[in-house]
């Protein structure tokens, strides 16, 4: 595709200049920080790096991060599909209000996304006393971390699916239903295959953000070592321990996670550019 375009530009000098400028911007803003993370992680060699990653607190942080993502991402994925389904296939009052609500978490500071749960479930919050009386822990426990993560990553899947499903319309589903397929079958045989790549793409984005979230979880974590510290919080803990190798080693785990996400995502884009392009026109 881009091969054809090259012909329409006839100034090789300009193109080289622009490419160099782009490379410079990316290098200064994006590549250097990434390089810095890995440089810091391996500053004292591979031994301290492995030691930092294998430390029990680091392992439990990895476990907690995976657990939180394993709960938050499927929930948001399910919601994303359901919401996109409602919006794309049905006409109803308050549709634009629903759309607005889905977008709202985008404009919320992560700190606020954590704060709201404290206002609700903190000991001084609306339901705080009841929760304490019934010995239910939400804030400063896994549940609180999950809730904060869900709120931050809430719109990702829905935002990816809505434009695509709107584009596709409901014709195929109607046809299937007319031919006597059940709603359940229709969903799994028609709808899901149609949206699977956009869904996976949304899930990837959602997952990357869920694992890397810092601001929101920091408000609801309580920072109990080995119990309620997720990987990003563990980075902060180690940084404050003056354990910079450990901090950057943990950070490099997260960065690798981000890179893997990028590779998966780029792969998806190359193979399924057509299906995904609809979501780009936000």
């Amino acid at each position: 595709m881009s091969g054809q375009r090259t012909s329409s530009i006839r100034l090789p000098g300009l193109s080289i200049l622009l490419v160099l400028a782009s490379a410079l911007v990316m290098g200064m803003l994006v590549l250097l920080p990434l390089f810095e993370v890995f440089r810091g992680a391996f500053e004292k060699g591979i031994g301290p790096y492995l030691a930092a990653v294998r430390e029990p607190d680091a392992l439990s942080a990895i476990r907690l991060t995976l657990l939180v993502a394993a709960i938050a991402v499927p929930l948001n994925a399910a919601f994303g599909v359901a919401a996109a389904w409602c919006i794309a296939k049905f006409e109803f009052r308050g549709k634009s209000a629903l759309l607005t609500m889905i977008d709202l978490p985008f404009s919320m500071s992560p700190v606020v996304s954590g704060l709201v749960w404290v206002l609700l479930f903190g000991a001084q919050g609306w339901f705080g006393t009841w929760l304490i009386d019934h010995d239910v822990k939400i804030i400063f426990a896994t549940t609180g971390l999950v809730l904060a993560t869900i709120l931050v990553t809430f719109p990702f899947v829905a935002r990816e699916l809505i434009p695509l499903m709107q584009d596709q319309g409901a014709d195929e589903e109607s046809a299937a239903l007319t031919l006597g397929a059940s709603g359940f079958t229709t969903f799994f045989r028609i709808t899901l295959p149609n949206i699977r790549w956009a869904l996976l793409y949304g899930v990837l984005l959602c997952n990357a953000r869920a694992m890397g979230e810092f601001g929101a979880v920091s408000v609801v974590s309580g920072h109990i070592r080995g119990l309620t510290t997720t990987l990003p919080l563990h980075v902060e803990v180690l940084y404050n321990d003056y354990d910079f190798v450990g901090a950057f080693a943990t950070a490099s785990l997260l960065a690798s996670l981000g890179l893997i996400t990028l590779v998966l995502k780029t792969g998806l884009e190359w193979r399924h550019a057509g299906e995904l392009s609809a979501n780009r026109r936000h």
Partner: protein, 260 residues
């Protein structure tokens, strides 16, 4: 449908209600005083001002990147393309620590800037760099597909009619991508306003000067000022959401005009 609404209610509406109701225990004048207190006002101004500038600067930067990535073939293009998303995938706290290490006076780039008497980390410029960092992918990813779609025929027709490269860019390509450019910039803006993790490390956090609004929420919380924290939080949500709505309206207007 019912489940969707219930989930939405539990995850978004209920917490927002808590946020919306909490500040008013200060009373209307109390909230007003809270928000117009010099330190809060300065933090809000800094957060929104710098985010706006960063988002605007991201427009040409994003345009540059998107243009190079879609129009030229060069070695490493695909890698560059993939890396655009890195600020999005990299956890914010990690980005913050790394950016600080680089732009601190003893860091590789900070030292270069320091030679020219420019303070990068621990100044508004440092916050600005962090905000550009996190906003960049939003702009690039918003305009890239549209740029790819801009009809080559239209451009060639313009060339035939004697338009030079600059004229083509300004009169043909720019109007076509304007709506998505605006949408990308507004997303970058909304994200930058609330950004916490990548900014606190590099900001310097001086009251009135480099103290961002999300940090002020945290500080208020630590002083047990729940209502004050909620007031600042609510104001931030209201302003950035309002900005998004206005920008969306402009964008829809532009898109509509473009089609006609």
């Amino acid at each position: 449908m019912g489940i969707t609404l219930a989930y939405l209610g539990a995850i978004v509406v209920l917490p927002l209600a808590a946020l919306a109701i909490r500040p008013w225990e200060l009373g209307l004048s109390g909230v007003w005083q809270e928000l117009t207190a010099p330190r809060v006002a300065a933090a809000l101004k800094l957060s929104f001002g710098l985010s706006a500038i960063a988002a605007l600067v991201n427009a040409p930067l994003g345009l540059l990147l998107a243009w190079t990535l879609t129009r030229y073939e060069f070695p490493g293009r695909r890698i560059l393309d993939a890396l655009v998303d890195l600020p999005f995938a990299l956890p914010t706290a990690v980005a913050g620590i790394a950016l600080t290490a680089i732009y601190a006076p003893n860091g590789p780039l900070g030292a270069v800037f320091a030679k020219f008497g420019l303070k990068t980390a621990y100044s508004p410029l440092g916050i600005f760099i962090a905000l550009i960092f996190i906003g960049l992918p939003f702009v690039v990813r918003a305009i890239q597909p549209v740029l790819q779609d801009v009809d080559a025929e239209v451009e060639e027709a313009a060339t035939t009619l004697g338009a030079n490269a600059l004229q083509r860019a300004v009169f043909v390509v720019l109007p076509a991508i304007a709506p998505s450019l605006i949408s990308g910039v507004s997303l970058a803006f909304a994200r930058a306003v609330g950004e916490y993790g990548s900014v606190v490390f590099i900001a310097g956090n001086m009251p009135m000067k480099t103290e961002i609004a999300p940090l002020l929420i945290v500080i208020k919380l630590e002083q047990y000022d729940y209502a004050g924290a909620a007031a600042v939080g609510l104001a931030m949500v209201a302003i950035s959401f309002g900005a998004l709505v206005v920008i969306n309206a402009v964008q829809i207007h532009l898109a509509g005009r473009g089609r006609r």
